[in-house]
Symmetry: C2
Subunit: 552 residues, 2 copies
Amino acid sequence: MKLVIVGGVAGGASAAARARRLDEAAEIVILERGPDLSFANCGLPYYLGGEIQQRSKLLVTSLERLKVRYKLDARPHAEVTRIDRDGKRVMVRDRTCGREYSETYDKLILSPGARPRVPDIPGGDLPGVFTLRTLEDTDRIFARLKDVKHAVLMGGGFISLEVAENLAHRGIRVTVVERNHQLLMPFDPEMTTPLVKALRAKGVELILGGKVTSIIPDASGTLRAALADGKALDADLVLAGIGVEPESHLAAEAGLELGVRGAIRVNRHMQTSDPDIYAAGDVVEVSDPISGQNQVVPLGGPANRQGRIAADHIFGRGSTYRGTQGTAILRLFDLTAACTGASEKTLKKAGMGYRAAYLHPNNHAGYFPGAQALCLKVLFDAQDGRVLGAQAVGGDGVDKRIDVLAMAIQGKMTVYDLEEAELCYAPPYGSAKDPVNMAGFVCAGILRGDQPQVTVGELEEQRKGGTIQAVVDVRGADEFARGHLPGAINIPVDELRGRLGDVPPGRIAVNCQVGMRGYLATRILLAAGRDVVNLSGGYLAWELFEGARRTA
Amino acid sequence: MKLVIVGGVAGGASAAARARRLDEAAEIVILERGPDLSFANCGLPYYLGGEIQQRSKLLVTSLERLKVRYKLDARPHAEVTRIDRDGKRVMVRDRTCGREYSETYDKLILSPGARPRVPDIPGGDLPGVFTLRTLEDTDRIFARLKDVKHAVLMGGGFISLEVAENLAHRGIRVTVVERNHQLLMPFDPEMTTPLVKALRAKGVELILGGKVTSIIPDASGTLRAALADGKALDADLVLAGIGVEPESHLAAEAGLELGVRGAIRVNRHMQTSDPDIYAAGDVVEVSDPISGQNQVVPLGGPANRQGRIAADHIFGRGSTYRGTQGTAILRLFDLTAACTGASEKTLKKAGMGYRAAYLHPNNHAGYFPGAQALCLKVLFDAQDGRVLGAQAVGGDGVDKRIDVLAMAIQGKMTVYDLEEAELCYAPPYGSAKDPVNMAGFVCAGILRGDQPQVTVGELEEQRKGGTIQAVVDVRGADEFARGHLPGAINIPVDELRGRLGDVPPGRIAVNCQVGMRGYLATRILLAAGRDVVNLSGGYLAWELFEGARRTA
């Protein structure tokens, strides 16, 4: 068996190591266009910021080790220029000397990754305009950093925000320009409000709904980024973090079937339309296990597993890829934002029947020092309660809850299962009722009809439509005075039983700070025969939406 | 509906709050023997240590709030002395004045908790010998602490170790005496080795297999704890953390059916043998969802959920309790130890067919600062690969992985599911191949036959029995020189292919540091036609067992 792998980073390196473990005798050739195989792509922003201090740390597995330990014929600077499917060979150009040669294969794995989008605007290809994908990119940016006082980052996605944080750590003034009206598109807009606040609190300038239309250098080397609204930003460095495109031209030229956004279409064994050719990583189309729709999701974890599965199938194993549910996480200064499964946007687009709930539980026992509220949104099937998606923003413990909910999604578990989840509890780590349990209680309560709720969006629609006639804020008078929903009246929950006559007539909504007192108030009013719903996530959820509205 | 609840802490308080939410009109009476309802039982050790500074923080919900917000007839100092099932009433003694009265019920929930065992030895009931269960206990110990230079803690369970840490934080010299030869009985012994090391490194004296036979005060108030081996410890305070017994005497006297260890037997709705009486919390018998056996597991999370389920069923909901899988966690200085599901001991006792695997993956990307290896043991069904249990010890990220595995157990997921788990990955939080994925790879590899492995125990048996003839350590010469298995020979993995002739004949085991290089070596040797197994968890696992052996 001669296996040739195109691309030597996440998917390719995983495929190669797995192939060697499955077959000691196989001839395994890795052809990597760049100088580095198996480098830590996800670590690059942290090297720019100085948190990872040694460049050598970014080389996860040395070329020497790939050759000796895994007995791989690993070739950097080897660019595959064409796939000859009939001849079962690839044409290769050695980028160090320009020599062209061909390499035959029994099986071929394509893992060339994705290409960062270069801004398609005048000046988008200037020397001071960078993208960040490879170690070479990183070296180029790093070499320039000492002279950078102001950086403009185009795009508000994961990589751009990681770079923003890291450049800010270095004392560089940073401006992020995102064309959409929200950061981090995999999240629902309201869940990004805390990130907007955090960026601004840390002195990062953020322009949402902004569009860089041209980049023009002046004589001193400063780059002037002109915005569509007529403003301009003078920067010493521009980084374009505006997404990536599957590097599928080889596959396309070879006539392999492509899918959405030109990504290579594969079956569940990562096999392309040519049974001798597999593909893995950021170049492939994957299915969304929630909606069943095809998508492209460039993430390191999936890339590694896909490479492994491709190798498995080539060496006779039946492993299958289950699709990419889109679990992702970002550290942004003191905040963590993470998501898994479907967003509300996705569910709406797919026309799925879902419900949403918002919570703000503490990350661990409130009586233990350092407790911090995290903001959690859970999406679940309106009929059977299956968990469909979750998003969380906060401090410690966000990653844990999203990982737990990611398992729930993978295991096709329901919100009723979340109620009964038995998770670690000691005061430094959680609560007797963990945020995941609380999410279960709230979501299951909605489905059982015990907790009639509306989201902020539903509340506003129903107020406009006249189906909700009033909002009663059941927090204390002091909390109410610090801010409340427009037109809300204040009846603290502890007074509610004695003041039922003060509650306005008709269908009403109640709100508190996070949804807990509102829940009790809803129960009291239901028992009094009132038509009432609770605002999911309370005033804090309303503030999330307000934040998103201000940026929209 | 008149609901009477005996006991106002975890299970009782949860039942009461849930009952109120389900029925605004119900009369709900909580009878709590002690002065405090709804206090933070699990926070008591941290108040002793000063990490929780305000005593008021331990009162989770004030009596006033229970009365006003939840409209509960909450009575502290109200001791129930008898249940009259025929008359559907309980006899109550007001401990503030001695007045006796009766209270009728439609439904009764028993949540009296568990009673700490008092050492059944001479002096076990001296004033300086404490147990820690209530706020009153805490106040008594706290009042004494300023004069305590040396404390003897009897028992090496969760509470005792939490107190050990906290007293050490206060600068008190601490000696822990545990009669078993291991700490934390829910764990397998080898997994407690890092805890033993941590205690000793922090200056806590630890006597395993030690037995206090009597406690004798001297004139100055010092307590002399005599040990079975003739030694004695002079202490200013003795704390007995030697377990708890279900407080089931009321139930027993009323003729309710009891289960193991005298705990109250309940059905899945938390209903006792009397359909009008429910029970919840540390007083009940629960089933182990893995082995199906009945057990008593005093934990805060389960108590809260049980109280909720009892209230649900009383008010017409069909909620069921799924059993207690025993998820538990301990912070011990810089370490975290957590477990979920069955231990190997339990599986052996239950006669279940299982396999075990050990891993030492990093908590997050190794190239990112602060990466720490965690020690993970996973137990899984030898046939279908279902996850049966997990234990982990390490720093940050231990709680997350055990929570994820707890969900896998609850969802009846398999090690094949762990391979495909899609968890949060960015360098500060995890790895492209998360420890949970790595666990899946190793365990599934064992079941598929790709990774023939032995545990340390199996290796030693097979070496004794002669079925394993030699051990080849495939680490580098420097690592080998720092310590290795007795009789092992050293052939570094990178030299193995060229030195196949140096490998001893017959069936052999290989080991490396954590199991990864050993895996590759196993594959190389299998391809060479050799009969070979890899030592699960490598030299580090061997050290865990060595540590456990030294204390046995």
